[in-house]
Symmetry: C2
Subunit: 741 residues, 2 copies
């Protein structure tokens, strides 16, 4: 049982504390003229004992007793530690107060673990937040972002200066209301929607483990960092976190260390009203090592010991349950939901200052605290310099591997990688675009060192297996096929973590297109946080047939076309699938969704990679002077329908242009001139067809055009039958054309 | 610990078997001329022992030994039971074979538990699938639908006759590729997307518990049924199932009994590749009672005993882990993914017939099996008649409660309920539509006996508390405020279960509008399965301000407008919020999403409940002859912007019509004449404004109109600042108008 082994381990770790515990007189020697001294040792409201006794399943977890942990600096006096912790608390309090908006409760409760992580444990370089081998930190409970901003500020990151704290939650600041990696260097991923962060962290830890397994040598462990997370009750209630944590346990990601801020409070009040499961036991069931720090408010050594124990457990991720008091230090609001999501108010801020013995004006960082933290800038530079030297050694000895790793670190792909993309002619055999997709993946993996991914238990349907690689598993982490199980939401968020680990990592993930509904939360974060994940979404229409309406996407194309900063691509054949991959790989700051067919499609004359890059383009035309009688527009599996309709119509003497509209977003980005050359304003006879919702097509076909599509749910029947019954046919296109022109 | 108490219980239940175990000669007496006899006792490929030994955490669960359970019929010979089970298997095999599409593996493996449930345990009336007090059955592993169709067929449901089995997965049949409640009476909910079914079942069990607590009397337990589920590995990997099951444990839903089809196989192969957590321990952590039936293939008495034990545990839901062999009986495909999702093929069907000793032609139900099952039609009628008599008694004694319960059972609401809807005048104080929503909920709960619901830990932000009720909790299940915790996806699916339990139950659920991304899978099933859930979605735009882009919906309105059979409503003020609720309550077969503001909005002249019912309507107009100079269109919080712009423009002499476009779907359903009266084709000068994606507006404003909206992500700043920076202003509307006219 996990609990007994962890007990054993924690006993083995019971070593004398190396921290200098300041005597009370030493603490008093700090001068706070108008207050009675540091009070952070006095228990705040809501003693933790009663809180603890409510938790079930406690007996099987490990209580860590006072001990110490190796740190970068082992000589900090406890009084200074507490001063630093209170600095963090008040930077959060003051910033929220100034903004009159935000979440002070978590930073106040988590300041101790935050301090220990950033001041004692983590390895990073404040002046280069992108240093490859840094430890990653994810605040999964993203509403507590002031914790992270305060820590980045103290650590010397340029992204969070005093004026940035003062601009918390204001227009154009680097300190938005939730952590956003694209706004604030030093923030790894974008959190706030609960559960995303812990799943991102699983992706970051996966990336580390994979790269370490691929590139580390017995004499040179060039990839070697930890991933730390703080998550709260909210994250732990979300299904996505269970999905991702089940995988983390399965994969044995030993360098993933998660702090569960166990404060018993969520927005609706005490977690007793909706959350009485045993989190400890659940994580043990998921294969995690679980440690409980009962006093997260002042049990600094317990937190340190827990981290040391977590690091010693190398084959399992660790959950450190840290019982804290939300809003610690606030005499009247601590331990209640009222401190979760609003400013304390001037009166309570005063009372908290008094209670914690904090005489300083808002935003003040005491000199000794500032001085103490100032070492992180030189220390960080040193860490990076040492690593750079190590990499130089590595490069000398292992030049091939070094080149691959460099590509992953920099995001610069090997020259000419595009040549690997397969091309097709109309004579190439008809094939499903999901199969063509697999040809692309297998071609690209040979030239892109950072390509890896997999499916949510549909690899053989999504056609996502990399044939020259095995499975990424606990014992084979160097492999590149990732098996996500039936966990779409977790999969998407894990891929966001992988993508944001290093610019050259290109994660792809797959399921049926309709099940993007299960992972939309993560997909939106890909788009927002500029994570270039490739979403390989097969079975993209009623064309999947018998599985029926639960499996047939209808509104999904429209729903992603409406989403900012994402590319919705629906290729029609081999060349377009290759084009879609080219676009997807090149767009490292914009995720791509590839909607791919289950059914076979012919390779059409006129399709091309270059065409796809323009989003919409002419694949055939028998008109002249940019004045066709009609423009027929199709995407994906319906492009062959418009191509066939055009042939028939041309036989009847019509001048017909056929346009493939593979990506609306890319077409939108073309010049007005180009757009006019494809869809001339003067031609109002336009017919579109797509086996999906017509929503949005009105803008393309115009008020006089006709959009053929499906504005109801699908049906269970053979695909051909549904196409016919739903009128997604050549005949429908021809009839519509005749009505219009 | 749960495991020790369950062990105790199972020992207490060790009673002599009452089943007549046929001797081997008796079994041989059944005539199968060309085969060597019934072989279902011979172990198939892949002995369960090895399968079992791979599972971790087994020691803490209970092994149920041979015993028996109370059944409706305790005299069935085991040979007949096995014949019935094989009938189920071959109906599934034959139907999938004929369709050349489908999933035979689960029905073959789960036929024993299916038989026991439908033949021995469940209480239902085949001729009235809607009988209120029936036991509910949910096949969460919906791909195995042939199991349920075979059972409904044997039990005598009119919805699944032999010809329906032969039309499996064909156009227009009652036997679609996954269970669909709207196609097949006898199917309770729509499953297929994994994890939905178990969460629906939690909703069904919640409904039973709530209604029982409200209406049962010491002398008359008028509400009293169980909810049974079969779920597989796939369901158990999905986060939604963890969310819902955590709540089921929290609520102590003792009459929820779930069978976990533990067959070690998912589509990608052995579950070892992605699913090695201890499911047993996880469910124990969630507060469930867990039982393990090691031999689900032939351990009939073990299954029966487990059900008996589950029923005896009244304060916890029970998970019965039943270890089975997927595709049991198929000599070459059992226990492999190849039997999961495709027809066996003629050769393997033959081999399976030989292996299981099945001499019959396809679709044949042996006479003795038919005869045996035939009792369910009269028995079911009797059950319902008895209950009807009970209800008559109840009605006599408890007329008031009976009237309420009748309304819930029938879906007929008390006359004049609409009068409870609040109305407003322009003089009413400005208020956020989320607050107005709460006024409606609290007014409606007084007149609608079936209204209940809650929020995903945002009750005080979503404003969803019913002030005259307490919380639905384990000890107070009669209350109507449901606390879902931070579990959006589970919440939506639970509400689907509640809605589909009884026509008069009206569940509502709430979170921030942006987090519909977390629950879209469930929302789509609401729409598809005609579950009239009311989605109360607040903080519906950048108007929420400082929380920033992770919390600000952009594309969400468009994404739901594109979804079939759902009403997307964005009311602008008090009257429109009341109108939205009227529409939502009346649409019992179509879910509604209400997008509501965080910020205060004025009550505008011209808004009305009747207007909302038309979807789009004129709130003010100074034009004549249906020829305004310009039509300004707004929704929700932007309606006040167009109203203000219109005032300014009118002062300049323009003839301006202002249209509220609160629901596109409702407007679409109006007559062409009405539509023309609101948006005359001759007026091309149209300006729309909405704080969301412009996607789709092209069709409304036309090629010459202008849609003002937001086609990028939001930002963290005070709301007014973002509105200004993003150009969602009166000035922008006026400028656009001047460009157009």
């Amino acid at each position: 049982m996990a609990s007994s082994s962890s007990l054993h381990l924690s006993q083995a770790l019971l070593a004398p504390a190396v921290y200098l515990h300041g005597s009370s007189s030493e603490r008093m020697s700090l001068s706070f003229p108008s207050f009675s001294g540091l009070k952070s040792h006095s228990p705040c409201k809501a003693p933790t004992t009663s809180a603890v006794s409510r938790r079930r399943g406690a007996s099987s977890t490990t209580l860590v007793r006072a001990t110490a942990v190796e740190t970068l600096d082992q000589t900090t006096e406890v009084s200074l530690v507490e001063k630093s912790i209170n600095t963090i608390r008040f930077l959060a309090i003051d910033s929220v107060e100034k903004a009159n908006s935000g979440h002070p409760g978590l930073p106040m409760g988590c300041a101790p673990m935050g301090h220990i992580l950033y001041d004692e444990v983590m390895r990073y370089n404040p002046k280069n937040p992108a240093w490859f081998n840094r430890d990653r930190f994810v605040l999964s409970a993203g509403h507590g972002c002031m914790l992270q901003y305060a820590l980045l500020h103290l650590a010397g990151y340029d992204s969070v200066k005093e004026e940035d704290l003062k601009a918390f939650r204001q227009w154009g600041s680097t300190t938005p209301g939730h952590p956003e990696n694209f706004e604030t260097p030093g923030v790894e991923v974008t959190t706030g929607p609960l559960g995303q962060g812990i799943a991102n962290a699983v992706g970051l830890a996966l990336a580390e483990r994979h790269l370490a397994a691929r590139f580390n040598k017995p004499d040179n462990e060039i990839v070697d960092h930890y991933t730390y997370v703080i998550l709260g009750d909210g994250c732990n209630m979300e299904g996505i976190s269970n999905e991702a944590c089940s995988l983390a346990g399965h994969w044995g990601l030993g360098k993933l260390i998660a702090f569960y801020d166990d404060n018993h409070i969520s927005i609706d009040g005490d977690t007793q009203i909706a959350f009485t499961e045993s989190v400890d036991k659940r994580f043990e069931a998921l294969g995690w090592h679980v440690i409980w720090v009962k006093n997260g408010n002042t049990g600094y050594d317990d937190i340190r010991a827990a981290i040391k124990e977590a690091k010693a457990v190398k084959d399992k991720p660790t959950l450190i349950k840290v019982t804290t008091t939300i809003g610690y230090g606030s005499p009247n609001k601590a331990n209640s939901y009222s401190v979760h999501g609003s400013a304390l108010g001037a009166k309570e801020v005063d009372a908290t200052r008094k209670n914690l013995g904090w005489p300083y004006e808002p935003f003040h960082v005491p000199e000794d605290v500032k001085k103490h933290w100032s070492r992180h800038v030189p220390d960080g530079a040193k860490l990076e310099a040492e690593w750079n030297a190590k990499f130089a050694e590595y490069e000398k000895k292992y030049s091939e591997e070094a080149a691959e790793l460099k590509s992953i670190i920099s995001g610069e792909f090997p020259a000419g990688w595009q040549k690997a993309l397969p091309t097709y002619t109309p004579e190439s055999p008809a094939d499903a675009t999901r199969n063509l997709s697999q040809q692309n993946l297998n071609a690209l993996v040979k030239v892109l060192p950072g390509l890896l991914g997999g499916s949510a238990d549909l690899a053989s349907s999504n056609m996502t297996l990399l044939k020259s690689y095995g499975d990424f598993q606990k014992d084979t982490p160097e492999e590149r096929n990732v098996r996500f199980g039936v966990r779409e939401h977790g999969m998407g968020a894990i891929c966001n973590g992988i993508a944001l680990h290093s610019p050259g990592l290109i994660p792809y993930c797959a399921t049926f297109f309709v099940f993007t509904d299960y992972m939309r939360g993560a997909i939106r974060i890909s788009a927002l946080s500029e994570a270039g994940v490739i979403y390989v979404m097969t079975h993209d229409s009623i064309g999947l047939g018998e599985d029926g309406p639960t499996h047939q996407p209808i509104e999904h194309l429209a729903s992603f076309r409406a989403m900012p900063n994402i590319l919705m691509l629906r290729p029609a054949d081999g060349n377009e699938t290759a084009g879609a991959y080219k676009v997807a790989v090149l767009n490292r700051k914009r995720p791509s969704i590839l909607a791919l067919s289950r059914q076979k499609l012919p390779n059409l004359p006129g399709t091309s990679i270059e065409g796809v890059e323009k989003g919409g383009y002419i694949i055939s035309d028998n008109s002249s002077g940019n004045k066709p009688d009609v423009i027929l527009i199709g995407t994906g599996s319906e492009l062959e329908i418009v191509a066939a309709a055009a042939e028939d119509l041309r036989k009847e003497g019509k001048a017909v242009r056929v346009v493939s509209f593979v990506s609306w977003e890319l077409f939108d980005e073309q010049s007005d001139e180009y757009k006019e050359s494809v869809l001339p304003a003067s031609v109002s006879a336009r017919v579109s067809i797509e086996a999906g919702s017509t929503f949005g097509w009105g803008k393309i076909v115009g008020s006089k055009g006709k959009a053929i599509g499906i504005d109801r749910f699908g049906a269970s029947a053979p695909a051909g039958k549904i196409y016919k019954e739903y009128g997604i046919t050549k005949e429908a296109v021809i009839a519509a054309t005749k009505e219009l022109s």
